[in-house]
Amino acid sequence: MTRLASMSPGLPRATRFCGELGQRVVTGTMYPALIADHMWTLASRSALPVLATTLPTGMVVALQGLNVFDLFGAQRLLSSLISVAVFRELSPVLSSMLVAAQGGASFAAELGSMRIQEEIDATEVMAIDSLRLHVLPRVIAAVITTPLMHLLGTGAGIAGGWVVAVLMRGEPSGVYWANLWALTQPLDLWGGVLKTAVFGLIIGLTATYRGYFATGGAPGVGVAVNETVVQSVLGFVAANYVLTSLMYGSAP
């Protein structure tokens, strides 16, 4: 069997990459310390961008929602709308987008520069499994951290809605909190976590794949980062549609 590193780019190599990673998940050690390390990097680097994106977006939802609900005199439904919109759609997509742009991109940049500077080859020369040491912990960290970022983003989005509705438009705060969970179901909570875990897997795999196989010197690292962000975002937006259809289409 040809070695993974010597395969030419394309679908067989990508499939093989995912397959070898899957095989390493079920066999052998997982390096929990490295996973924790990458989780911390990912969380500490993505948390602020996630907050800074979902907060204004929650504010925008409140603003537009109030514009529409004022027509019907249904302002009390505002917080229910915000929690549904943020929980089901905005926070999963925006948080994952920021995790891809910040964490995924930095994974690709790290692995890419390790590949260019022949550090990955050096690990292989020392008979250390580079996939297990460099790639797998990053993928697992992305799968665990993305749902956490989604929950953080949900909190920020709902807080942003509260700022606009209560502080700026003077809606009663009690009504806001009382109706917050009126339309959300348990499905929204675990469905969102499940969805973002899948998004995290897509981000982790894309980022490590692009970084691990980066070629062409310093510009190659830039290309790897670029492709990581674009392809992982496209990938999880498409997955989002499929998952939403499956989860809510079958629910009553």
């Binding site: 800074a52 925008v60 742009a101 790290e110 520069s113 260019i116 690292v221 674009v230």
Partner: protein
């Protein structure tokens, strides 16, 4: 942080003064507009297609609980045109065109090609930054318009084919709810976001640190900063225009 804010302000000031005082390289502007528009278009359209279909699904499931399926078209067109399309197009443009600008300029910086331009007394701002800013300023509003049509179109298809609701009713409420003002504001947002994305990405590229890691980090910083700034500015514009 404050150093970056000051550096960025100086960068914007220089770019603006060059755009004002120096002759603009028109050929390069069109080249960039073409480059950004054509290279980003398939990705942007694919993404907005999924955003549109998802808006339709989520709107449908949320409104069904209230018995308001007939409002689906209005929901999709208002949420889509006013907020989702401009924001998502900006995020994806930052991811595609912004990262490309940042990594190109970062590579030019670390290979000292920017210094070489200065040595040849070609102004790097006029030659590299101004065309990118003006090019994206032309390309992004056009792309946003196409994305809005794609978004409503896919939402319409999903409503008819997957959800089994009435297609004509969807289109009626969708276009009934839209006003010309909504479209103008979406275009205005696109222009502002385009300018911000190009300035931030070029700045990050110009400030790149040496080595492959520096290029990667500059590219990374470009996309994150532009996405965050666009989300915040999106709120400010909406607050200004719609409140």
């Amino acid at each position: 942080m404050s150093g970056h804010v000051r550096g960025f302000a100086r960068f914007v000031g220089r770019t603006a003064s060059r755009a004002w005082h120096h002759p603009i390289p028109t050929g390069k502007v069109w080249e960039q507009a073409w480059f950004i528009g054509v290279k980003a278009m398939p990705i942007l359209l694919t993404m907005t297609a999924f955003i549109g279909s998802n808006l339709a699904l989520q709107g449908y499931y949320a409104f069904k609980a209230l018995g308001g399926q007939s409002l689906l078209g209005m929901f999709v067109s208002l949420a889509g045109v006013r907020e989702m399309a401009p924001l998502m197009v900006a995020a994806m443009t930052a991811a595609k065109a912004g990262t490309e600008m940042a990594s190109q300029l970062a590579v030019m910086r670390i290979r000292e090609q920017i210094d070489a331009l200065e040595v040849m007394s070609i102004d790097p701002y006029t030659w590299l930054v101004v065309p990118r800013c003006l090019g994206i300023l032309i390309a992004l509003p056009a792309l946003t318009m196409m994305c809005i049509l794609t978004l409503i179109g896919t939402a319409w298809l999903v409503t008819m084919l997957q959800l089994g609701e009435s297609g004509p009713q969807f289109l009626h409420t969708a276009f009934g709810a839209l006003t010309g003002q909504d479209l103008w504001i979406a275009l205005f947002k696109a222009a502002v976001f385009g300018l911000l994305i190009s300035l931030i990405s070029c700045y990050c590229g110009f400030r790149s640190k040496p080595g492959p890691r520096g290029v990667g980090d500059a590219t990374n910083a470009a996309v994150v900063t532009s996405a965050v700034v666009c989300a915040v500015v999106n709120y400010l514009i909406s607050e200004w225009m719609y409140a």
